[in-house]
């Protein structure tokens, strides 16, 4: 009853605390300008409150230091926390007060009542602070320490929290905690009877997310929760491959409804991306040649790779002949600490320098063992493959570069652990099924694209799907070429829609490039400096709207006329500068152009 009284006083104090609620400082509340009289009164009230508060803390500390975990101490904690919920050590103190003081020798009933009151206290505070860590933490502590926690009731409570705000991630996190406790409790009970119930909890949670999604397709938190539950469902129900596939197909149906309802909504698209998932990432040898100057082999990859053990280089064609002694090094390599816990050099381009005489071999062969390569990106793990790429390189002074025998080191995407993506596991194993899936989804998206030709998400998703389909075909084949064309046309459309996402250039060096026009600069809206010296440019063009541009070097071009870049041009014999209001002048260097030779003077405006 002592505890109950202190709880009640806490509730009345917390209404007073409204005035001091700092949460609104961070979360937005309309500010009302007070009159000076009201201001003065408020300050007076505050001074009283401040003294009260300081006395409280001092008293609490005394209790703490003397290890007096009594009712009074508990009440102090209540008052302080009602006003200052972030005072994290007082929460610890409160827990200690309960454990070592008030409930130390308590009966089970007393304990149950005390903790129940704690939960009521927390519920009141929650109204003011729905997004606070400490409420949920203290709640968990109470439930874990009380004799008879009612997890079912907690589940209902968190359901209400998510009604209020379906994106409250504290709520979702708490829900996962509660359901895990519930499932443990069910499993603990008679196994025979309740085995099915534990599994059905995952299912009922899964259905909960379905409800949330159907209420509002934009409920990203619900989609996210689903991504966690789907793999669990597979596991728990020991599904056959067919059953898994059937469930995934239903997922695709749900996503399809969502993207048709609102093609601009990210949630469904990102979930779709995950469902389709599994990008097969290859590491390819882009080219290999013998460099007569280096007297060595140059090999280039499309990923920054590390070499675990050196690639075998042998005389002649095939790798049956004698090994060539020599050393491999990356060109411009960088050190990285990699997944195999070593510091290793990585590079796109690798060079082999023989340390023995190779003049008798007209051909050299490089054999690349996939297991000797460490890729840069975790997602492109390599596995042993059936084919070991073998590259024949002509050893001759006549051919500066011969790129032959493109070799592709195919890898299956081994996803790190089972952290992400087990759901489409089934989809990766059978190539033909995967190809069918890709084609089916491609046609679904294309249908939607017909209805919504400007949907950027449609186009992005389509590009991803087509790109992967390409890997299913042979490289260089007709099919792959057709797919490439489609991809390029999608990208063109995307560029038009999403035209502001242009890579930002600040400084450009383009001297000695035989450029005839500079109008392309118009797109580079953030350009500050550009060097176009010694080109073939005949007209100053494209820089009118570039408001950050400070300097343009156009020496030694073919400029014989120019247009006004802003009002007010000043000319001297080396430089044209213009003023743009209060900003710095733009400098354009024109030495060595016909226009200067023609001796334009300052009377030109």
């Amino acid at each position: 009853s002592d505890l109950k009284r202190s709880h009640n006083s806490a509730l009345s104090l917390s209404t007073v605390r409204h005035e001091f609620d700092k949460k609104f400082a961070m979360h937005g509340r309309k500010r009302v300008k007070p009159s000076t009289e009201a201001e003065r009164q408020r300050k007076e009230k505050e001074a009283v409150k401040i003294k009260e508060y300081s006395d409280l803390v001092a008293a609490c500390l005394n209790k703490k230091n003397s290890k007096t975990f009594d009712t009074e101490a508990f009440n102090y904690a209540t008052k302080i926390l009602s006003q200052n919920p972030d005072f994290y050590t007082i929460w610890n103190f409160r827990r200690n007060t309960l454990l070592y003081g008030l409930l130390k020798d308590a009966e089970t009933d007393q304990k149950q009542e005390a903790f129940s009151n704690e939960l009521v206290f927390l519920q009141a505070l929650f109204q003011l602070n729905p997004k606070s860590y400490w409420i949920f933490n203290h709640r968990r502590w109470c439930l874990e320490n009380m004799p008879y926690p009612d997890w079912q009731r907690e589940l209902e409570l968190v359901g209400k929290i998510l009604e209020l705000d379906s994106r409250n991630f504290h709520g979702w996190d708490y829900r996962r905690y509660v359901t895990s406790k519930l499932s443990m409790k069910i499993a603990d009970a008679d196994d025979e009877n309740n085995n099915n119930s534990a599994e059905s909890l995952t299912e009922s949670e899964f259905n909960f997310t379905t409800t949330k999604i159907n209420q509002n397709f934009s409920n990203y938190s619900a989609w996210h929760q689903r991504s966690k539950l789907l793999p669990s469902l597979f596991q728990e129900k020991n599904m056959t491959e067919d059953e898994k596939k059937a469930l995934i197909d239903k997922e695709f149906d749900l996503v399809k409804s969502a993207i048709y309802t609102d093609p601009d909504d990210q949630s469904a698209w990102l979930y779709h991306l995950w469902l389709v998932g599994r990008e097969i990432r290859h590491i390819s040898v882009l080219g290999a040649y013998f460099d007569p100057k280096e007297r060595g082999i140059v090999l280039s990859f499309d990923d920054e790779i590390g070499m675990i053990s050196p690639f075998l280089v042998s005389h002649g064609s095939g790798n049956n002949n004698g090994k060539v002694q020599g050393d491999w090094r990356p060109s411009g390599g960088i050190f990285k600490h990699d997944q195999l816990n070593s510091d290793r050099l990585y590079g796109f381009v690798w060079i082999f320098t023989p340390t023995e005489d190779i003049s008798n071999s007209s051909t050299l062969t490089v054999t690349i063992d996939p297991s000797s390569i460490v890729p840069s990106h975790s997602e492109s793990h390599l596995m042993q493959t059936v084919k070991k790429p073998v590259i024949n390189i002509l050893n001759t002074d006549n051919i500066a570069a011969s790129s032959e025998n493109y070799a592709s080191i195919h890898s299956n995407n081994v996803v790190a652990g089972s952290l992400i993506v087990p759901a489409p596991e089934i989809l990766s194993t059978i190539t033909q099924e995967r190809t069918e899936l890709l084609k089916r989804e491609i046609s679904v998206i294309k249908e939607l694209l017909d209805l919504e030709p400007d949907s950027k998400w449609c186009l992005q998703t389509l590009v991803n799907l087509l790109n992967e389909l390409k890997y299913a075909s042979l490289l260089e084949s007709n099919e792959a070429n057709l797919l490439n064309n489609e991809i390029v046309s999608c990208c063109d459309r995307l560029i038009k829609i999403d035209s502001f996402r242009i890579t930002r250039f600040e400084d450009l060096h383009l001297s000695h490039n035989k450029l005839k026009s500079m109008s392309f600069l118009a797109n580079l809206i953030n350009l500050r400096e550009v060097n176009l010296e010694s080109n073939l440019i005949s007209r100053i063009d494209g820089i009118r709207e570039l408001r950050f541009l400070k300097e343009v070097n156009l020496k030694n071009n073919l400029i014989s006329t120019f247009e006004t870049v802003h009002d007010g041009l000043l000319v001297d014999d080396k430089m044209v500068s213009s003023s743009r209001g209060d900003q710095e002048k733009l400098k354009i260097h024109l030495a060595g152009n016909p226009i200067i030779a023609a001796n334009i003077s300052s009377e030109f405006h």
Partner: protein, 366 residues
């Protein structure tokens, strides 16, 4: 139709004035966050530094007094029994616990009332650097030693000893602290990498902890931690897809999660993450800047949202606060707004302050 009430240009003088005022006295709404006071000091000082007026704001006397105040929040090993409170060492946010004020720090901290807090240690070190202190009074061994008590089995960190709150935010703080003090021996890096990997979700964003939704703030914390540890490639399951997730957060300004409205601070959290991933140039600078300017308050500072019209065609304005003010300025600095100094996106203070750390502070110059 009423004109938009926010200033159309970057109102730097108003922000300078707002930050200076807060430095003198915090508005009363901040009372109940007194345990976090150090972070408010950091927002003010770092904000003024980015606005390039910090030097002219501080007198040598002021500087000395504030440096002393910060050191007075340092919790040191107990004089007679140092092992007794080693888990508590570091900096706290303010003298909220009522202990005696001593510019040499706290020498008799009691479990668990007076404890250091990782976020406060991080911001305290930043404040000291901004005030041009050389960190010579920082007890590095004590702070680094305390980290092992704050790291949990799963690799995450609690913000304070025995706290139930542990997630990726404090992983970031631990990494930033170790960087500033130039000592990474205090925690298990492999477990941190594991935790970060497990916190990536199906959409390749990064959540605050495993199982949670991916979120802009935690994405920044994870990527920044990886950058500090120099393990970005190893720690991210797919750098490209994470970049894609980050870029998809831009819808004028940036949102923290899909289908949420844009909020000033995410221009920093997501912008900073993209900067660290080398993909910052792919954002739309103009939209971002335009959005940020609309969240400025007429009274100085930035709020989280721009004003909106209610059904009576009246403007609802949101008040500015220190966090969003600082984040707005930091986000503009990432885009190299004229008049702002360059920002180091990993530690989140000006680049020249990091230069000073490396050249002049006691833990680096040796």
């Amino acid at each position: 139709m009423a004109t938009h009430p926010s200033p159309a240009e970057f109102a730097r003088e108003k922000h300078v004035s707002y930050l200076k005022t807060c430095l003198e006295i915090l508005p009363h709404e901040y009372e109940s966050s007194d345990t976090n006071r150090m972070t408010f000091a950091y927002f003010c000082l770092s904000g003024l530094e980015l606005l390039d007026v910090l030097d002219s704001t501080l007198t040598p006397e002021r500087r000395r007094v504030w440096i002393d105040w910060i050191y007075a929040q340092q919790i040191l090993p107990n004089l007679d029994k140092p092992a007794e409170n080693e888990q508590l060492c570091g900096f706290r946010g303010s003298p909220f616990s009522g202990s005696k004020f001593d510019v040499n720090g706290v020498r008799d901290a009691q479990l668990p009332v007076d404890a250091a807090n990782l976020a406060m240690t991080y911001t305290a070190l930043c404040c000291l650097l901004l005030l041009k202190d050389d960190l010579s009074r920082v007890n590095r061994p004590a702070i680094i030693n305390a980290l092992q008590y704050l790291q949990n089995e799963d690799g995450s960190f609690s913000q304070t000893y025995q706290s139930m709150e542990s997630d990726i935010r404090f992983v970031y703080c631990a990494c930033a602290i170790s960087y500033i003090l130039n000592d990474f021996s205090g925690f298990n890096v492999a477990k941190v990498l594991d935790y970060i990997k497990k916190s990536q979700t199906y959409d390749y964003g990064i959540a605050q902890s495993p199982d949670q939704e991916s979120h802009g703030g935690s994405t920044y914390c994870a990527i920044s931690a990886l950058r500090i540890l120099n393990r970005i490639d190893e720690g991210l399951l797919s750098k490209d897809k994470t970049i894609f997730w980050c870029l998809s957060r831009q819808i004028s300004g940036f949102q923290g999660r899909p289908n949420k409205p844009p909020d000033t601070c995410y221009s920093f959290w997501i912008g900073g993450a993209l900067k660290l991933l080398g993909a910052f140039d792919l954002i739309d600078f103009d939209s971002n800047r335009t959005f940020l300017l609309t969240t400025q308050s007429r009274h100085g500072g930035f709020s989280k949202w721009p004003p909106e019209l209610n059904r009576f065609a009246e403007w609802i304005k949101y008040p500015s606060d220190l966090l969003h003010t600082y984040m707005g300025i930091a986000a503009l600095s990432l885009m190299r707004e004229p008049g702002l100094v360059d920002l180091d996106p990993a530690i989140n203070i000006s680049k020249r302050t990091i230069d000073r750390l490396i050249n002049e502070s006691v833990f680096w110059r040796e």
